[in-house]
């Protein structure tokens, strides 16, 4: 019966969640690096960051994923042989995380860049005038205010990221889409399983929507919105 497979699909849902959260972490790191490169006074850094965001946003995620997954394995084998090590297997899990993180890093970079620029320069000057160090200014003054501007863009990107994890099933990762596919084949009831996956995705986006609203409220503390 179809509900016998429910447990296995829920395991897949956990994998999907793990994958998306790890990719999110990866993407935020890439995004912060891109944003600082784009805002840096060193021109080659800015060019490199612009190249990265332009190229990544112009290529479908599945193509990049296939390139990293299949190409990465060959590259690793090649390097391992050169370094005199035994070749090891490139797991689709990490290939998926690195690729999704790398792709969404480009989008997050744009979001962060806009948000950093939205913080008034006077805030940084005031921090420095009070004798705070550069890192202090960054973490205590710039970041908390930046997050308020970045959150709407971040939540958008997160929802897109969550949905794009479904394509890791095309490189053989046993996420919930892949498990639903298998369950559908063996029970000849694919519709039910795909619908369960749809419902789980909807649940995840709904839950993250609620959570992000709360975060947005938290980071907008003290901001007065004009009455319409």
């Amino acid at each position: 019966m179809w509900y016998d497979y429910l447990g296995s699909i829920l395991t897949g849902a956990i994998l999907t969640l793990q994958l998306s959260l790890l990719s999110l972490t990866c993407a935020i790191i890439f995004g912060l690096m891109t944003a600082s490169a784009k805002l840096s006074p060193i021109a080659p850094l800015r060019w490199a960051a612009t190249c990265y965001t332009t190229i990544i946003r112009g290529i479908p995620d599945i193509v990049l994923m296939l390139l990293v997954f299949f190409g990465g394995q060959i590259l690793i084998n090649h390097l391992a042989v050169k370094a005199g090590l035994a070749p090891f297997e490139f797991s689709p899990f990490w290939a998926g995380i690195v690729t999704i993180g790398f792709i969404f890093g480009a989008y997050f970079g744009e979001t962060f860049r806009g948000a950093f620029m939205a913080v008034p320069a006077g805030q940084i000057e005031a921090g420095i005038a009070y004798g705070l160090s550069r890192t202090r200014v960054f973490f205590r003054i710039l970041t908390p205010q930046m997050l308020r501007f970045a959150l709407p863009g971040l939540s958008n990107n997160w929802l897109v990221l969550l949905k794009s994890t479904a394509i890791v099933s095309m490189i053989g990762l046993t996420d919930m889409t892949w498990l639903a596919d298998q369950a559908g084949r063996s029970t000849r009831q694919p519709f039910i399983f795909y619908m369960i996956v749809c419902l789980l995705y909807m649940l995840l986006s709904y839950a993250s929507g609620v959570l992000l609203k709360k975060l947005e409220k938290r980071y907008s503390a003290g901001v007065i919105f004009g009455a319409l």
């Binding site: 479908p60 694919p190 519709f191 986006s205």
Partner: protein, 237 residues
């Protein structure tokens, strides 16, 4: 592990076929998506009881689930039902379409892009400034005239930017068509990889074609903006 351009040259005809499939799929989806999204977006914006909520539910479903799953449901899912199988056995030519991967991809992509476009259009319509609508009413325009000559022309100009995003998302989203055995651009990339075991040649070249397509789309929208958003350009004189 040397980069062999010969592989790309030998597979160029295949890549051209794949490019054509991708362009066709995306073109059909965008065309029909727009045709359906226009009335749906208007209804969603003007608040018709029940209908607006129904459309809201449709767009919510399609925007919060992955397009890959939507495609798989269309191609593999419907065959589960006895009724569908009976239709197929009876040779009903309409329902037999759901056994064609090409039709299924067009179907799923159209519904998906239609959902996003509906939201874009309804958002633009809702953003019409009240003064414009008041002025149109004061001129004695009927609802249809108002929609046709005041609200829609302005709203369709406003959607240009977000619609260009949607077109690019659709172009890149169509890369999953190979999941239902279609040989689109990505499908060709996978086939070339499988034949020569050359991931770099196959996928880098595929990526480059998508990159060029993306730039072409962006360029077209730049032209469209120059034509239809000319009044927003910064003054030069």
């Amino acid at each position: 592990m040397d980069f062999q351009p010969g592989i790309i040259l030998a597979s160029l005809p295949m890549f051209l076929d794949g490019l054509w499939v991708t362009l066709e799929l995306v073109g059909i989806a965008l065309l029909f998506g727009m045709i359906f999204a226009l009335p749906l977006g208007i209804i969603r914006a003007v608040n018709v009881p029940y209908l607006t909520q129904l459309i809201g539910g449709y767009t919510y479903f399609f925007r919060s689930t992955p397009m890959l799953v939507q495609l798989l449901v269309t191609y593999y899912g419907f065959g589960q039902f006895k009724w569908m199988q009976d239709q197929w056995n009876a040779g009903n030519s309409f329902w037999l379409l759901f056994r064609e991967p090409y039709f299924c991809a067009c179907f799923a992509f159209t519904l998906n892009t239609c959902a996003y476009t509906t939201e874009i259009i309804s958002g633009a319509i809702k953003n019409t400034s009240t003064g414009e609508i008041e002025a149109a009413k004061a001129m004695g325009m009927s609802w249809i005239t108002r929609m046709r000559f005041v609200i829609l022309p302005a709203a369709m100009r406003r959607i240009l930017q977000s619609y260009s995003n949607e077109v690019i998302l659709m172009l890149q989203g169509s890369a999953i068509a190979s999941a239902v055995t279609l040989v689109d651009l990505t499908g060709v990339g996978r086939a070339v990889y499988a034949r020569y075991y050359a991931p770099f040649e196959a996928f880098i070249f595929t990526g480059l074609i998508y990159l060029v397509l993306t730039f072409a789309v962006l360029g077209l929208f730049k032209l469209a903006e120059r034509r239809w958003l000319a009044h927003l350009k910064p003054r030069k004189h």
